[in-house]
Amino acid sequence: MTVDNSTSNIALEGLVKRRTIPMWLQPLHTLVTRKYLGTFGAAVLLTMILAAVLADVIAPYDPVAQHLPDKLKSPSAQYLLGTDQFGRDLLSRLIYGARTSLYVGVGVVILGTGAATILGTVSGYFGGKLDIIFQRLVDAVQSIPSLVLLLTIVSVVGPGILNIIFALAFRQSISESRIVRSAVLGIKENQYMDAARAIGASHLRILSFYVLPNVLAPIIVLASLTLGQAILAEATLSFLGFGVPPPHPTWGSLLSDEGRRFMIAAPWMAFFPGLALSLAVFGINMFGDGLRDVLDPRLRGSR
């Protein structure tokens, strides 16, 4: 009797679906095919990154160049989004502003999320007195509204893009560490943790091989949402005059006081920067939401 070992059995054909993409790309695939808003958000983020990176190439004018005879011109073929009170092209200022916003945003995400991961993991994993003290600290910092805290820090240490990144990263890392900590606590409950300890795995090994891979999903989602928050926070600081110092154009400063008295005569000055900011933050938030929906049920993160 011959044994037919081939997999070309017609009856089974429709049942077994072969993977066409590697497993780690699966979440991305689900995002694009199922979560339309999340994909829209990703597109917005991508546009923003492209604008920031290619600013020198695509911006029609120098963002700080003043064309005084053309000041306060409404949007036209020559100045696509109009000009401000010094004749500076708004579109170019917006494009370069994206660069500043992203620079601050990414810096805050890397520093803040990195610090939060370390703090949250250590606090959650080792527990005990360290954890209790750390939680009190987090409570205390969170009881000061973030804007108040940030403004206080910036007014004391002085303006400057690095100072702002550090201040924002500090505040974000405190709130985020809470979430990382609860994710770690959720993982600690699992039996494989006891098993690993029982066979004598060192703390470092357990952390690297068991804890971190499982908190990765919530952290990725957190990072994307932090990006939006950081950009908004930087814009708010700039609006109040405590952000990145001139002449860097940032979206917040474009809406600030000095331009305000011209905005009634030239409403495009108020409309477009805010629109850009809103769209960017909205897109990033949507992307983060979509990411969460795609990653969480799959890897059973703790959100």
Binding site: V148, T236, G252, G274, L277, N285
Partner: protein
């Protein structure tokens, strides 16, 4: 129950202490000599003796732990020092501005609840329909919109369309309630809308969780009208965690008042804060930080205690 309340209050004291200490540290983090910021350019012309006199007046020549002790002692007494600008006690300056900010915050909170809870409920009971997606997108838009943009648009658009500018002179609630409400309506509306996004999402999540419960299924099976089930049974239980979240939003609310008061020229704590920042009036900055942190902690205590009243499971755990 009493145990729960006492425990909760005792828990808050170290938090307040740490927060005040954090403020203390922040204010003294200035690189270089603080005197430079306080005296400004005139420092070069002032003789050393006078500089040291100002330093002594501000208590900055004492060793750091002595300064810290005096600060904490002051905070517990309610003495927050004197403003650098006009030498008035910080406490008095804040006392005048507090009612305005509280009124703004309360109105904004009420407005956000009025929009967010019904919308959250509808979004939950009509989950995954077009209405749900629409409301969820609007909610996310609410969190994404910058407060200062909405505020600025709210001022310039009426100016352009109707030639109306909001008044710069503030009328207090005591003097003329009608004008006061008219003046506060727009700022409160904007602040409330920004808050509403978060509240709506939480309400929706909580409602979804509650609707899956067995007792809801029993109520429906008994033949109760859907509306009765939702309002009498589901909503009451779903709203309890929402109350807790509101406590967390207080911090956001106060931060929001800083921007909104600045744009609408309301004489509240937010604007005082901005002025103090521009003047580098450190005692006022410090005092405001402490006051605001205390408010957040107190509100959270109240929220947690009321949570104990609303949810009997918490009291007995």
């Amino acid at each position: 129950m009493q145990n729960y309340i006492i425990r909760r209050i005792l828990l808050a004291i170290p938090t307040l202490l740490i927060a005040s200490s954090l403020v203390f540290i922040m204010i003294r983090m200035a690189p270089g000599d603080v005197m430079l910021t306080v005296l400004g350019e005139s420092m070069a012309n002032t003789p050393n003796k006078d500089i040291e006199q100002v330093r002594h007046d501000l208590g900055l020549d004492a060793p750091i732990h002595v300064q810290y002790m005096k600060f904490i002692a002051g905070v517990t007494r309610g003495d927050l020092g004197k403003s650098l600008r006009d030498k008035t006690p910080v406490r008095d300056e804040i006392k005048d501005k507090l009612p305005v900010t509280i009124e703004l915050a309360v109105l904004a909170l009420l407005w956000s609840l009025v929009i967010a809870i019904p919308v959250g409920v509808i979004s939950a009971i009509r989950q995954d329909t077009f209405l749900d997606y629409l409301f969820r997108s609007i909610a996310v838009a609410g969190i994404s919109l910058p407060s200062f943009w909405l505020g600025t648009l709210a001022i310039i658009l009426p100016a352009i369309w109707f030639h109306k500018i909001p008044s710069v002179v503030y009328t207090s609630l005591m003097d003329d309630p009608f004008t006061n409400i008219k003046q506060m309506a727009l700022p409160a509306l904007i602040l409330g809308t920004l808050l509403a996004g978060t509240v709506m999402r939480i309400t929706r999540t909580m409602m979804l969780e509650v609707m899956r419960q067995d007792y809801i299924r029993t109520a429906m099976a008994k033949g109760l009208h859907e509306k009765v089930v939702i309002y009498r049974h589901a909503l009451r239980n779903a709203l309890i965690p929402v109350v807790t979240v509101l406590g967390l939003q207080v911090a956001f609310l106060i931060g929001g008042t800083v921007v909104i008061e600045n744009i609408f020229s309301l004489p509240g704590m937010g604007r005082l804060f901005i002025e103090a920042l521009n003047w580098r009036d450190y005692p006022v900055i410090q005092g405001l930080n402490v006051v605001v942190a205390s408010w957040v902690v107190i509100v959270n205590i109240i929220v947690d205690i009321s949570y104990g009243f609303l949810d009997p499971r918490i009291r007995y755990s």
